[in-house]
């Protein structure tokens, strides 16, 4: 009886431990055999637009068309204009188990979402499912196959060896150049921009007359070089210089001598006010279009805002200046081997209890890759479609051939921006994705912003400054808490007191049980 009691209690203890482990994990999604359309599915789609109402209209049109094909699925659209807000809202909603079904995202963000295990659906099985996979037999629209997605773009959606997203659109960065002013300053644009050229021309543009008007534009304002995304700036400069950023598994390498050299260079030109950033000054496009900037680096997905004839403008008409705009790759260290970032929205699917709901989400995500959606959306900005199927279609090729026919759909700068990526897809790169890579990216940008602000504030930027900046940035973005095992786990800190007490008690009880058993055995022998 005592033995039975002991075994029973030990079993309960073990069961209680098992119960603790992963008690709140969501079940793993398995592709259902059939899509049950007797049910109605209400799915939410969190999308990002570039403050571009045409994009909004395309999302709405896409949903309308999709719901006609699948009447049992209703898609609710929620729009954002900022990836950061989506990221923060998703994190909040993971905690309350109210994530959207389909969400525009960046792989860096997915790596963070994955810390809630089972939160994001791995798409590996879905991609190749014969019935419901990409171009599957039961899919009711003309979807691309997995092989028809540009491999480089699809590979960007893998985290820890699993595919967690579908690419939706791709862009890169471009340098939108006021060629008129470059030539007015006595320079000729090279085939490929170098950093040295951009810095030199920028400094030359700072000359003023006795009244403080800049000679190149005759105005009181001139910021020759403005970078929109300073995280991309640092990342690209490091990549081109073979400077460390991070290892694939998440070891932080950014705090190195190459980074310091880059920051000293930036400080030099921020000090003369030849360089500034979006966060410090404003949108590069506004300065470019007002003739107050010569090199404006922004996404190709911002091309419709760039140039004298831009269809989207945020400044008053009387502030617009007439000049020739040239779309070029970002400045390079090695012009023979150009390198530029690959970016753009992807979509992930969040796991739900009802596998039918997840399948409905997948079908919608897949619908976003159809030619109609891909081509229409890519035409709203300097995006490129993510499938060869769309890129090679007659409709898209016709679009590309009509560059400059008007200043709306065929706006020359926008088409040149798209072609820049199409011609340089093999020259693009992405940064490693791991839990914490989003923070590292923010930190990279913060380094540039901090140095730029500091020199504007007349602070001394020297070795001591750099050491403090590195230490503060590490602390601010908690980069010292990122582990390098690639598992996406972070250091969780000390074990809670309750857990320590529990484990000690369990250990103690096993000792007591052992002691009791021994004592009983001894008693029996004596008897």
């Amino acid at each position: 009886m005592k033995r039975v009691l002991c075994i029973l209690l030990a079993s309960i203890c073990l069961l209680s431990l098992c119960g603790c482990h992963g008690s709140a994990e969501r079940h793993t999604f398995a592709v259902p055999d059939t899509f049950d359309e007797s049910q109605t599915y209400e799915i939410t789609f969190w999308a990002k637009n570039d403050t571009n109402l045409t994009q909004v209209a395309i999302y709405e049109q896409t949903i309308e068309e999709f719901e006609k094909i699948y009447p049992s699925i209703h898609v609710n659209l929620r729009l954002y204009t900022d990836y950061g807000r989506i990221y923060n809202d998703v994190i909040t909603n993971i905690a309350t188990d109210t994530t959207p079904n389909v969400c525009v995202t960046y792989p860096d963000h997915i790596a963070t979402y994955l810390t809630g295990e089972g939160t994001v659906v791995p798409l590996d099985d879905l991609l190749h499912d014969k019935k419901y996979g990409l171009g599957g037999s039961e899919v009711r629209f003309d979807a691309p196959t997995a092989e028809e997605i540009v491999p480089q773009f699809l590979s960007e959606c893998y985290v820890n060896g699993n595919c967690y997203a579908l690419p939706f659109m791709r862009s890169t960065e471009a340098c939108y150049v006021n060629k008129t002013y470059v030539e007015k300053l006595g320079y000729t644009l090279p085939e490929m921009l170098t950093w040295d050229f951009v810095w030199e021309v920028s400094e030359a543009a700072m000359a003023t007359d006795a009244d403080g008007n800049f000679l190149v534009n005759g105005q009181k304002v001139m910021i020759p070089f403005i970078y929109k995304s300073t995280d991309n700036m640092m990342i690209s400069m490091l990549k081109q210089s073979n400077g460390g950023y991070s290892t694939a598994s998440g070891e932080i390498e950014i705090f190195n001598d190459t980074t310091k050299e880059i920051l000293y260079t930036i400080a030099e030109h921020a000090g003369t006010r030849a360089f500034s950033t979006f966060k410090i000054s404003s949108y590069p496009a506004n300065f470019l279009n007002a003739g107050q900037c010569i090199f404006a680096i922004d996404s190709t997905a911002g091309a419709t805002w760039m140039g004298s004839d831009a269809p989207l403008v945020d400044i008053s008409e009387d502030a617009l200046i007439d000049f020739e705009t040239v779309v070029m790759p970002i400045p390079q260290q090695d012009t023979e081997h150009p390198q530029m970032i690959s970016q753009g929205p992807s979509v992930c699917i969040f796991n739900k209890e009802d596998s039918g709901e997840v399948l409905a989400s997948w079908l919608f995500a897949q619908y976003l890759l159809t030619n109609d959606v891909q081509i229409a959306y890519s035409q709203t900005e300097g995006y490129v479609p993510v499938t060869h199927k769309a890129q090679n279609s007659a409709e898209y090729q016709d679009y590309l051939s009509r560059e400059g026919e008007n200043n709306e759909l065929y706006y020359a700068i926008k088409l040149q921006a798209a072609k820049l990526l199409l011609n340089n897809t093999e020259n693009t790169f992405v940064t490693p994705v791991f839990n914490g890579s989003a923070s590292l990216r923010d930190a990279a940008g913060q380094l540039v912003e901090s140095v730029t602000k500091s020199v504007r504030r007349k602070e001394t930027v020297d070795e001591a400054y750099m050491e403090k900046l590195f230490a503060d940035t590490t602390s601010l973005y908690r980069l010292d808490q990122i582990t390098a095992d690639g598992s996406g786990k972070v250091v969780l800190g000390e074990m809670p007191t309750a857990s320590i007490v529990l484990l000690c008690s369990l250990g103690g009880i096993w000792i007591c049980l052992g002691a009791y058993y021994l004592a009983e055995s001894v008693k029996k022998r004596k008897k």
Binding site: S16, D314, N435, L502
Partner: protein, 252 residues
């Protein structure tokens, strides 16, 4: 001995249950809390503002861009708190300040009701024409003042309008020319184009200041092109005047 063991086991089971309960919530919420989230709770800047004496509005106005500033002013309104930052519209009897993304805990944000006096340390900056204080911290001090709107209708289109930047102001007899949602549908900012004396001006219902549930958001939604209205708001600047509307009513 049996009793002791039984008691110990009961305690262990109880602890196990408690620990499991804790774990459950941890697993649910662990994802965001254990992530390496940026910019939370930590000061956003790497350098502290140097010691500067409290400035009058005139001294602040005269201060160079990018210089360290310390001012005392009264909160008039703020945008929604987010990520340990808050954007505040502040004013005193002499002028107004836009305190962009001031470091602020959620607990302190609740204390920033209209009228609250604060001392702010940061840097004077300008973004797209909007003069603001950035990278700032604050402390609440004794005092209370709620500004009345200043009628600046007559200053529209003049160089004097910008002298009232960031103040609570009013415009009388503005004609609505266009209403446009930032995202094409209700929920985000509303862009309102109004005209006065033949010139158009772009105003805005800033959703982080006055969101879709507020009276002013609903009132602007109900406006029609051609309506003649009186408008109150904060004289924000974005490549020109871009008032953040806080109240709208039929013109009197």
């Amino acid at each position: 001995m049996k009793k002791i063991i039984a008691l110990a086991l009961v305690c262990v089971m109880a602890l196990a249950l408690v620990a499991c309960t804790g774990d459950n919530s941890a697993v649910t919420t662990n994802a965001p809390e254990s992530t390496v989230a940026p910019e939370t709770t930590l000061a956003p800047e790497t350098t502290a503002a140097p010691e500067v004496k409290v400035m009058s509005y005139a001294e602040y106005d005269a201060a160079a861009l990018d210089s360290a500033v310390v001012i005392e002013a009264y909160v008039q309104a703020h945008q929604s708190w987010w990520d340990n930052k808050i954007t505040v519209y502040a004013q005193d009897e002499d002028g107004a300040y836009f305190l962009y993304e001031m470091a602020c805990s959620e607990e302190d944000a609740a204390k920033l009701v209209p009228g609250t006096k604060i001392r702010v340390s940061g840097y004077k900056s300008a973004w797209a024409g909007e003069v603001e204080i950035i990278d700032s911290t604050f402390e609440i001090i004794e005092g209370n003042y709620v500004a009345e709107p200043t009628d600046v209708t007559a200053l529209l289109g003049t160089d004097d309008l910008i002298k009232h930047q960031n103040k609570l102001v009013s415009f009388k007899g503005m004609t609505v020319k266009a209403i446009e949602y930032k995202n094409g549908a209700p929920g985000d900012d509303i862009y309102v184009t109004v005209s006065y004396n033949g010139n158009d001006y772009s105003f805005c219902v800033e959703m982080y200041l006055t969101g879709p549930d507020t009276d002013v958001y609903k009132a602007v939604q109900a406006l029609n092109v051609g309506d003649v209205v009186d408008i109150e708001g904060f004289l924000y600047w974005y490549e020109g005047v871009n008032t953040h509307i806080t109240a709208v009513s039929a013109a009197k």
